[in-house]
Structures are given as structure tokens and as C-alpha cells.
Amino acid sequence: MAIGYKEETMAKYLLLKHYRGAPAAVNDVPFDQWTPEEFTAHVKYMNDFAAKLEETGEFVDGQALAPDGMWVRYDGEGRPPVVDGPFAETKDLIAGWMVIDVESRERAIELAGELSAAPGAGGKPIHEWLEVRPFYSAPPTIME
């Protein structure tokens, strides 16, 4: 028993998938080199994974992002924002995410490991690196 603990209730984590910028996967073959069946199996794995998380009460959100994009910044009072890019040399390109609500950091790691096992070329797991980031939560009511 402890006071001021929120550690044992649920916490949200972002599982971030990259097009570019993550360390190279073990089974690192571009999508367009897979067979159509391999690609279908991959998509099915991802959908089944999300459905399973909903069933376990751990699913919050999942979204995919188009690789196409641009950079935008403020350019001073009365001027339109500057639009630039996309820059081919940008080293980090996010492909999508899943948000999970889990009991522990260990569980977040377990699920990320499972997601990273999605099948790719040759029907073998991609072993893709996923970035796992905790969300900030509300501060506990009892702090002192």
C-alpha cells in the first residue's frame, strides 16, 4: 500500500510507427517488394491486433498518416505562414500510431513487441522498431 500512487492504475502510451527515422528493422524490405498475400496478411494482423485490444479493454485510438506532408511556420505579423517541403532529407517521418491504456509499463512493452511482430516479406515478422511514449496524466489528488 502506498500513498500518492497512481502507478498501479491505468496509464496511456503512444506506440509510434515510423516510415523513416527508426533504427532499421530486422526484416527490412519495402512494402512494394512484398507479395500481395503478404501485404494482406500484414493488414489483417494490424486489424486483428486493434480488435483484440478493444476486447481486452486497452484500446484508445489508432490512426495512420499519409507520408506526404509539409512544413509550416509563422512568418510575422500580417504575413501568411511560410509553407515549405516536404524535405527529402528529413530524418524522422511518422507513419501512424496506436494509443493504448494499460496497467503497467511492462504491459505497454509486451504489446509493442507484439505489434512489431506483424508479418512482412516472406510472411516473417518485420521486427520493426516502435517508439513507445508515456502520456502525461492528471496529477494525483493526494500529494502530501
Partner: protein, 381 residues
């Protein structure tokens, strides 16, 4: 219409259905459906007898499920269609619901969700909103929880400590969603004190009231976290403080100390001081000693180090801190605070920045970042 009935009736009606022989999981679903209907219908069409209305509505929904199940199994249907008040309907045994929903076989998150729905009378959507997850996800969490306890006998006496832990977790969740979970936890704990005479139930209620009393002062008008020492004490709710202290004193007099009473005693000493400087830190340290003895909690030891720093000077506080595991949450924040008090702003600024990086909530991160920025600005002058 008395809106509070929408929260208080569901557990009573579930108990009535179970006593009439209904299975808990099915009865609880039926009551949830009746509740959703009541939320829709009552504002325009308030019933004369809300309890009778909800029993009837839930019983019908329960029979619908039983009939379709029975029809599927192709058996004779022999159920009474119009429910009448039955002997025993007036008995309030919602206490068993508290025990069932906090059953030790459940994970903390499942117990919290099931308690809020079956005992708290909240809808799945309200609970999902409070915990910032989709309704479908929360619905699954609740139905899994019900499957987990499906083998538990309904009227089995349980361990009150597990119930208190669940209520504590609800209270401590903070104020994120639309549903005020802290107020909800207080309501459920208050209701529990009416059902069971137990020092720690009273201790937990006192603890909640004394913390809830300070809530208006805890977040500044600009949304920032205001530390206890800097809070505007005139904003504290004196009515809640008086109630909390009265409950605590009556409970402590029974001389059966527990962790919630000890925490409430610490909270009481804080609200007892007119200004932060008048806080009786020596007594607070003694209560932390009790709390550490009762719980062996590392978080209690960490808070004790702060109290030691206030009572016996920052060096004594740092010495108490040195015995603890630096990987504890908020360790760097405590270290930064005590280091600044000991007259070492350079290291304190560094520790505050480190603490901001390790914070688990945005409000704490921002507070710690401001502390680091304040010291760094002073050092540049």
C-alpha cells in the same frame, strides 16, 4: 426531480433483482439499461415512485434477456410478466455489491470500472469519458470484470480493505474528465459509512473530505498547480474541513489506527494551520512515522523526508532522503526542494530541471520547470 436518485437507485435495484434470483451479470446489465431509459424519460416525465419504476423497468429488461435465452434453448417460458413488490425488496444489501465489485480477483482498473457502474450508478459512457477511453473499450473492461467475478457468491462477506483501496484510487485519479471522480468517491465512501461501522472507512472519508476542501485553492486561475504552502487558505472549504476533522477525531478515539486515519491526520494538521508557517511539522513527522510503520510505503517515506526537512531543517530532510531509492517518482522534486532550502541554488536549479523531465503529469512538469527557471533567473542576476 431528484437527480441523485439516478446514482443511488441502480445498486439497490441490482440487489433486489439478485435477491429475486437473477444472475448478477445479467441483472446489472438490465439495471444499466433501465438507468439509461430513466435518464431519457424522467426529466419530462418524472415517476411518482422512482424506485418502483426502476425495479419494474429493470425486471422487464431482465425478463427479456431470460426469455430470449430460454426461447433459444426451446424451453417452456414460465416467468411472471408483471413484477410486484416482493418480500425482501426493502432490504438494502448494497454492501455486498461493494465487496463483489472490489473482489481481489479483479485488477485495480477493472474493480474501479465495475464499482463506478454497479455501485456508483454511472453509465458506461460517463465512466469512459472520465478515464478518457472509448465507450466500447470501457464496456469491454466492465464485461470482462463481470466474467471474472461470475463465480463469486453474491452475498459473500468481503475484505473492506479492498473496497477502500478501490475508492481511494477513484478519488486519487484527479480531475480529468467531465465526471467529478473525487466527488463520486466521496459519495460512495459516505454511503459505505452508513452500511458498515469500521474505523478505516471513516478514516478514508475524513481523508477525502480534508483533501477535497483544499481543491479550490489547488489550481490557480491561470490553471497552474499551486503548492500547499502557497495556497490561498481563505479558499479552503471550512464546512468540509469541520466535517472531516469531526469524523477523524471520533475515529481516532476508538484507538484502532490504520493507514487512512494516519493520512487523514496529516491532512488535518495541514488544514489546521492558519498560515503555512504555523504548520505543526513535528507532529506531521510523527504521523508519517506511523504511516511508514503501517504501510512500509516508499512514497510515505519520501513525503516524510519533506516533513523532516520542515521540522528539523533541510539537512535532516536530505539525510532522510538519502536513505531512499532515487528512482522513486517525485524523488528529484523533493531533492530539488530540500537542496534549495539548504542554500544551494545551483544544484537546486539542476535538480528542478531533472525533476521536470521525470514528471508524470503536465501540471507538475510546468510547476517544476517554473521553479528551475526562477532559480536560473536569480543566478544570472
Amino acid at each position: 426531480m431528484d437527480e441523485s436518485l439516478l446514482r443511488t437507485l441502480p445498486p439497490i435495484v441490482t440487489s433486489i433483482l439478485v435477491r429475486r434470483g437473477a444472475n448478477f451479470a445479467v441483472a446489472e446489465d438490465a439495471v444499466q439499461e433501465a438507468l439509461i431509459e430513466a435518464i431519457r424519460v424522467w426529466p419530462d416525465n418524472p415517476p411518482n415512485d422512482p424506485r418502483g419504476w426502476m425495479v419494474t423497468a429493470a425486471w422487464r429488461k431482465y425478463l427479456d434477456v431470460v426469455r430470449s435465452d430460454t426461447a433459444r434453448r426451446n424451453r417452456e417460458v414460465l416467468v411472471e410478466s408483471e413484477p410486484k413488490p416482493e418480500p425482501g425488496d426493502e432490504i438494502d444489501d448494497t454492501l455486498h455489491l461493494y465487496f463483489l465489485c472490489a473482489h481481489p480477483s479483479l485488477t485495480p482498473a477493472s474493480a474501479v470500472a465495475l464499482t463506478l457502474r454497479a455501485v456508483g450508478g454511472l453509465t458506461t459512457r460517463q465512466i469512459a469519458d472520465a478515464y478518457l477511453v472509448p465507450e466500447a473499450t470501457m464496456a469491454q473492461r466492465i464485461s470482462r470484470a463481470k466474467r471474472t467475478v461470475s463465480g463469486v457468491r453474491f452475498n459473500q462477506p468481503g475484505d473492506v480493505a479492498t473496497v477502500l483501496r478501490v475508492l481511494y484510487l477513484v478519488f486519487n485519479e484527479g480531475y480529468s474528465g467531465d465526471i467529478d471522480l473525487a466527488a463520486e468517491a466521496i459519495r460512495l465512501t459516505r454511503q459505505l459509512t452508513a452500511q458498515i461501522d469500521h474505523e478505516e472507512v471513516a478514516g478514508l472519508l475524513a481523508l477525502m473530505l480534508l483533501h477535497h476542501a483544499r481543491r479550490p485553492a489547488r489550481i490557480g486561475p491561470d490553471g497552474r498547480l499551486v503548492p500547499l504552502a502557497e495556497q490561498d487558505r481563505s479558499l479552503w472549504d471550512t464546512r468540509l474541513i469541520v466535517e472531516g476533522i469531526n469524523i477523524l477525531q471520533a475515529t481516532l478515539a476508538r484507538d484502532r489506527l490504520g493507514e487512512y486515519q494516519a493520512q487523514a491526520a496529516i491532512a488535518a494538521l495541514h488544514v489546521d494551520a492558519q498560515t503555512a508557517d504555523e504548520t505543526d511539522w513535528v507532529q506531521i513527522v510523527e504521523w508519517y512515522d506511523e504511516l511508514v510503520r503501517l504501510t512500509h510505503s516508499p512514497v510515505a517515506r519520501l513525503n516524510r523526508a519533506v516533513a523532516v526537512g520542515e521540522a528539523h531543517g533541510p539537512r535532516a530532510g536530505l539525510a532522510a532522503l538519502a536513505e531512499l531509492d532515487p528512482s522513486l517518482p517525485r524523488y528529484p522534486a523533493v531533492a530539488a526542494y530540500l537542496t534549495e532550502r539548504s542554500g544551494d541554488p545551483v544544484n537546486a536549479a539542476r535538480l528542478y530541471a531533472e525533476a521536470a523531465n521525470a514528471a508524470t503529469s503536465l501540471l507538475e512538469r510546468d510547476h517544476l520547470t517554473r521553479q528551475a527557471a526562477r532559480l536560473n533567473a536569480q543566478l544570472r542576476r
